[in-house]
Symmetry: C2
Subunit: 400 residues, 2 copies
């Protein structure tokens, strides 16, 4: 019997309790011993819930109980999660977390403590919800140089963009609907402005390069400026718009970028819709692979956290995650990365040609007075120089 | 420095040597020590290849060398692979293999020996080539009850069916082309008759149920009877035909089946084309997930074998695979599984209705004198009874 403590009894925390209950028998068999929740830390009480006798309001009770071998952090946010998790690891308690903000910010340090203590700090659920991606990168793709990871890493924005695509709705209406269905939060900034996806691609990049990637240094654009009109143009080009998080190994270093992009039907992420997430990986010997599944949601995320708990129990006194060093990775300047660009402008075709040279033009009958432009391949820097020659740029979306 | 021996220097064996060479630095770092190929067992000599000094023709040289800690079996076929692998494990040498015939036939026994000896018998490459699927099932989906696995597990047949779909070609022509390109063997039976996919789904089912699944008991149909006309009908129904390997947990036990099936666009495997493989997994808490990638090919498969070698080196003196018992799993009778059926017949519409009741009819202008029928949902048993009322069934394809 191994005793664990949950920090936080919100969506993920209560989901973990539920998964451990629903699949108790098979989890016990796979872990090799029974897993019992001894404490649940939450500021609230849950009088109607059978969990109530286990609720505590003071972290010290957990920290000071030598019986607790595993701490499951499901509070979210950097503080107080960081303080609690660090304290647990220093006390020799392994930790499983779903908290991407914590891992992106302090992953290197927490992994180093776990390694030194010969215990584990696992965070499968921090990227891709229920999709196994951290463990495959850590244990399966070990014979490869991973040269590219491109992911749809945020379920909220993917749901919104899918809805805009399939129903022709405007951004604001879709956001309201997503909020009403619980897919978007009252303050949706972390999702719609790309910050969530940014932290996740920082974690994945740290994993493959072995160094700390500061998410603040990743150029990040959200979907707030995407309109129903943009979607109409995308359809006319037989493409879809997705919020992508891209990390590519180049000669100049890792080039990392989060932004809405136009995808053609041949792209492996083209048909990943609704709240689903998917992560495309290219290895130098493996070639292309893709991992797809429920990127969020109570039970899928809890499934990944519970699998981490099983792994911790199976690997007591044995560190299994490859740590990344706290040495900062200098990212390649994304302005040097090359791609095509889609531009909407009120300029004349002559002016467009003058700015960009040979282009594809897309004219929507209902958008009189503007034209859609698909440029040739060029760096961001060159794009900016050329676009400055136009009188007005209504929109720019990158093409993958 | 750890010394290994390769059994077989064909496509996979030489691929493993190549991967270990190309990514030597990162592999050494991840494994924690250098991996050196000391011997390569092959009947042939390779005078033009730098591997030649390591070539041996007698397995005993490897078996009797205590320096060899890992044996990589890449010969294929049950014998002599089984004898060699068993001997290696009994001598305390861990084994990595890409051999699905070996694992499907003797997996339970070989896993048990590895467990007893506290070493490892790993076989990631035996299913899905380079796609991580064995390790995710073993280590990631441990908090789930896996209720369904449906896979496109054979690259040769998926290439052939894709080619028939996109180019309207006949089976025989596509087979010749696949043989010319090296995607199909001179004797293509193992692929086109579904035997390869059958062994792979037997392995996956054994993994999730923990018991030995005898592949001989899985109802298996190949693609040899699929014609350009069937593909035309599929297109008229906006569907595609794929060779699927399906394993479902039902109240009556695991229902396992390998056969060509009709898929609608909403199905996650619908757009998996060419030599790619993909494995759809449904877990009771995870929900839907999919793993996609290069299911065959020299380097992708070798990437998975090399990752197994890394795992073996990282886990010396420690067994990491969950064994399945040698107790035979009794499969549910596939004739009790329910689905829709597509039938081509020369019978009249009245006769069709008399046999199947309410159906969808598909009439191709170019197929005068016959009609396509999409039945309602029924068991295989009921389908057979009803189909017997027709005078002539030209074709039957199951619908997923």
């Amino acid at each position: 019997m191994i005793k664990i403590a949950l920090l936080g009894y919100g969506t993920i925390g209560s989901g973990v309790a539920e998964v451990l209950r629903i699949n108790k028998d098979s989890i016990t068999k796979r872990a090799g011993e029974e897993i019992e929740i001894k404490y649940v830390l939450d500021l609230r009480d849950f009088e109607q819930d059978p969990i109530q006798p286990k609720i505590v309001h003071q972290y010290d009770i957990i920290a000071n109980d030598p019986e607790i071998a595993v701490v499951v952090e499901a509070m979210g946010g950097v503080e107080p999660a960081y303080t609690f998790v660090k304290q647990a690891l220093l006390a020799g308690k392994s930790v499983a977390t779903s908290n991407k903000a914590l891992v992106a910010k302090h992953g290197a340090e927490l992994l180093a403590i776990a390694k030194e203590k010969n215990i584990n700090f696992l965070f499968e659920a921090s990227v891709g919800g229920g999709i196994p991606i951290i463990r495959p990168l850590n244990s399966s793709l070990t014979a490869d140089e991973v040269e590219e990871i491109t992911g749809i890493l945020n379920g909220t924005t993917n749901y919104m963009l899918s809805k805009m695509t399939f129903e022709g709705l405007e951004y604001d209406d879709v956001l309201k609907e997503a909020q009403a269905r619980g897919y978007a939060e009252a303050n949706p900034a972390a999702d719609v402005e790309g910050q969530d996806a940014c932290r996740k691609i920082a974690i994945l990049t740290s994993l493959i390069c072995g160094q700390q990637v500061d998410f603040e240094e990743i150029h990040t654009e959200g979907i707030t400026r995407i309109s129903a009109t943009d979607i109409q143009y995308a359809k006319a080009m037989n493409r879809v718009i997705k919020l992508l998080a891209v990390s590519k190994k180049t000669k100049e270093g890792y080039s990392v970028l989060v932004c809405p992009m136009l995808l053609a039907p041949g792209h492996p992420l083209y048909s990943v819709n609704d709240v689903f997430n998917a992560i495309f990986v290219h290895g130098n010997v493996l070639g292309d692979a893709m991992f797809y599944g429920s990127g969020a949601g109570k039970l899928p995320t809890a499934s990944a956290v519970a699998a981490d708990i099983v792994d911790i129990v199976k690997n007591r006194d044995r560190n299994i995650m490859t740590a990344w060093s706290d040495q900062r990775l200098t990212l390649a300047d994304y302005k040097q990365s090359k791609r095509r660009f889609f531009v909407r402008t009120t300029d004349s075709r002559d002016q467009v040609q003058n700015a960009f040279g040979a282009v594809e033009l897309i004219q929507l009958p209902e958008r009189f007075g503007e034209v859609g432009v698909l440029t040739g391949e060029m760096t961001e820097e060159e794009y900016e120089k050329r676009a400055a020659k136009l009188n007005e740029v209504l929109q720019m979306i990158r093409v993958v």
